[in-house]
């Protein structure tokens, strides 16, 4: 048991995990994710496709082994933080204990110093305190004790970040709702309905979109109607759901008529089917809308066009382009596309653990700041019998740079005597 604990808390294990995670993440970016076996067979060959599916490489970031790696990393971080907590508390306390300071390793030192006070101030150390112990007297000053906690805080932050992300992935709700103003659509199985009250596209002079804004209302049987606006970068928050203006596309009114009488009418978004009620075996599919269509044979002709597909008993019966004024005729029936307009595609989400992940991220940042820019250092001076002082410094991360600073401090104070 102890061996397992030692392994899980060892630096080597952490390094192996980090390297494996980095390799898996990188590998996943080269293999197109979320495709079918047929797709992989076509792209990489049959053997590779079998391997990809067998090893879950088609969805690496949601595979059991990737989760296992993340789980081991969490376990490693948790155990490391738990195991190191008591010693860290001890070290923090001991950092200001003169007896421990006297026993601590020395990174750099100066000898025969006439007055140690300028050295303390040159290194921006707090006001030194006097101590006397076992016949030894001197001064000491400790700076940046909080820096001892840097790595610990950073690990805690990563743990919270992974936890927040993992819980969010497991519990989050996500629905897509699209439509044109006037549409009312159910939001998945929430029992809520989303009404699209308005959809505006703010365009620049050159025609490019500056902003998309959907005015929406969310209501339910037991939920009062709440209205808001969702635009890109500014989601709406209604009934605990966040609604994002995600995308847009073209919609058109499709009318089925016979002898001038309208039999069926519906606003169809590109990518949608409409079964023809009067001809039950027939349905029309709206492929795409081209606002600036110019046929190859007549480029001077400008206008818009609709691309449609007709299905008869589930089989493609015809596919063509409709120019303005043109209609599809089947027996006595006429199918007309008209009134093109842009529809809004809204993403409705709920992730209760986003704030936990964000908090984790901020804690990581604080941890890194403490670890990198709040480096603990101790400076102490012992008086000798000749009335001169020996100054010692300890900076676990400062090394040669700290030694250089200490020696520079001596140079900056000409009254000091020769360094050791």
């Amino acid at each position: 048991m102890r061996k397992i604990r030692d392994l899980l808390t060892s630096m080597s294990f952490a390094i192996v995990l980090l390297v494996l995670l980095a390799a898996c993440c990188a590998f996943g970016s080269f293999i197109t994710q979320g495709q079918t076996y047929e797709w992989y067979a076509g792209a990489y060959g049959e053997r590779a496709a079998v391997l990809i599916m067998a090893l879950y490489l088609d969805d690496i970031y949601h595979s059991w082994w990737f989760f296992a790696l993340g789980g081991f990393l969490c376990l490693d971080l948790l155990l490391c933080d738990l195991v190191r907590l008591p010693s860290l508390i001890r070290r923090t306390k001991k950092a200001i204990d003169p007896q421990s300071i006297l026993r601590s390793p020395v990174t750099a030192s100066l000898s025969h110093v006439a007055d140690p006070a300028p050295v303390f101030s040159a290194l921006h150390m707090p006001e030194p305190k006097a101590f006397g112990q076992d016949g030894v007297s001197g001064l000491f000053s400790v700076k940046n004790r909080a820096g001892l906690w840097g790595a610990w805080v950073c690990h805690l932050g990563i743990l919270l970040l992974i936890l927040g992300f993992g819980l969010g992935q497991m519990t989050h709700m996500e629905y897509t709702v699209y439509g044109v103003p006037g549409d009312e659509k159910p939001i998945g199985d929430t029992g809520l309905t989303l009404s699209i009250d308005d959809f505006r596209i703010d365009r620049r002079e050159d025609g490019t979109a500056r902003q998309y804004t959907a005015s929406i209302t969310v209501s339910g049987k037991n939920a009062a109607a709440q209205s808001g606006k969702a635009s890109v970068n500014h989601p709406a928050a209604l009934h605990g759901l966040k609604i994002y203006q995600n995308s847009t596309g073209w919609a058109a009114a499709v009318t089925v008529s016979r002898d001038g009488e309208t039999l069926q009418e519906k606003v169809l978004c590109a990518g949608e089917y409409m079964p023809i009620q009067a001809l039950p075996e027939l349905s029309v599919f709206f492929n795409a809308f081209y606002p600036d269509y110019a046929p190859a044979e007549n480029e001077a002709l400008e206008g818009h066009a609709y691309l449609y597909t007709l299905y008869y008993r589930g089989q493609i019966a015809g596919m063509n382009i409709l120019l303005p004024g043109e209609v599809i005729t089947v027996d006595d029936y006429t199918i007309r596309f008209s009134d093109p307009q842009e529809y809004t595609l809204l993403q409705v989400k709920q992730d209760r653990f986003t704030s936990l992940a964000l908090m984790g991220g901020l804690i990581v940042l604080i941890g890194l700041l403490l670890a990198f820019y709040c480096q603990p250092r101790t400076l102490w001076a012992l008086s000798g019998q000749d009335g001169l002082w020996n100054v010692y410094g300890f900076s676990p991360k400062g090394g040669a740079l700290f030694a250089e600073q200490l020696h520079s401090a001596q140079e900056a104070t000409p009254k000091l005597q020769k360094e050791e």
Partner: protein, 271 residues
């Protein structure tokens, strides 16, 4: 303003070239005076480069950080800034000899990119853009410096008998610490970049992490530098091994910047 930028950009490249020549003179002729002048020229070029970016920003009516050309120019600016700070802070002019050619290479890449100004798509019109990209610029600049220091470290091992190199390059332990400092600066800013990007993505796309190639490779870079930091704690991995690892880390940075944009298109592929 865009015309001013167009005129100034090649001038900036010429000034960087002048700084590089001066640094080379310092290295080849071992003249300390050349190093002082090289530093001054590099500092002056940074000011001019800043002016180029300001002109671009005013001309485009937005922050100049949204396409390959603009980011490359900003990346070179970041590397110049961080390298100047490190040269000054650690009295290490030889860093310039290696850093300025890298800056010129990045600017050369920028010069090959389209300079057309396109209006920003709605998702990019966010206050987070400036914070997200500017922290990335500093992070990339710091990692660039660590890469250069690693090269110097490896070179120092070969030229240990040369008194000029011994005098101009800090001792191995100090060099390792300077590299460590630049990596920590880069990692801190990269963390900030990833965090601000996540917050922004949450607002724009409703998902703070969607395994987009750019996000994934930023995480890969973060993990590699995290490994570098852990390796340094282990006995025997400081120095040469750490230097090699820091160099590999920078290759990841370059891939995150250029490779991902060209080979692995995703939501970050703003051409």
């Amino acid at each position: 303003m865009l015309n001013v930028e167009k005129i100034l950009f090649p001038i900036v490249m010429l000034f960087y070239l002048a700084a590089m020549v001066l640094y080379f003179l310092f290295t080849a002729l071992k003249k300390e005076k050349a190093a002082k002048w090289a530093f001054r020229v590099q500092l002056g070029t940074l000011v001019l480069h800043t002016l180029v970016l300001i002109c671009r920003g005013i001309g485009a009516g937005r922050l100049p950080m949204t396409n390959q050309y603009e980011f490359a120019s900003s990346f070179a600016w970041g590397l110049c800034l961080v390298s100047l700070v490190f040269i000054w802070r650690f009295r290490f002019p030889l860093l310039g000899t290696f850093a300025v050619p890298v800056i010129l290479l990045i600017l050369g890449y920028a010069a090959l990119q389209s300079r057309e100004v396109h209006a920003l798509m709605p998702a990019l019109q966010s206050g987070w853009l400036g914070l997200h990209v500017s922290t990335a610029i500093i992070a990339y600049g710091a990692f660039g410096v660590s890469f250069v220091i690693s090269l110097i470290f490896l070179l120092r091992e070969r030229r240990s008998d040369d008194s000029f190199w011994a005098r101009s390059i800090p001792a191995s332990e100090k060099l390792d610490l300077i590299s460590y400092r630049s990596v920590t600066l880069g990692l801190l800013f990269l963390t900030f970049t990833i965090l601000t990007g996540a917050i922004w993505a949450e607002q724009a796309w409703g998902s703070y992490w969607s395994w987009d190639p750019k996000e994934t490779w930023s995480l890969v870079t973060w993990l590699i530098y995290a490994v570098y930091l852990h390796l340094r704690i282990r006995r025997g991995w400081k120095g040469r091994t750490a230097a090699i690892f820091a160099a590999i880390g920078f290759l990841c940075v370059i891939f995150t910047y250029i490779g991902v944009n060209t080979l692995l298109p995703g939501i970050h592929s703003y051409k």
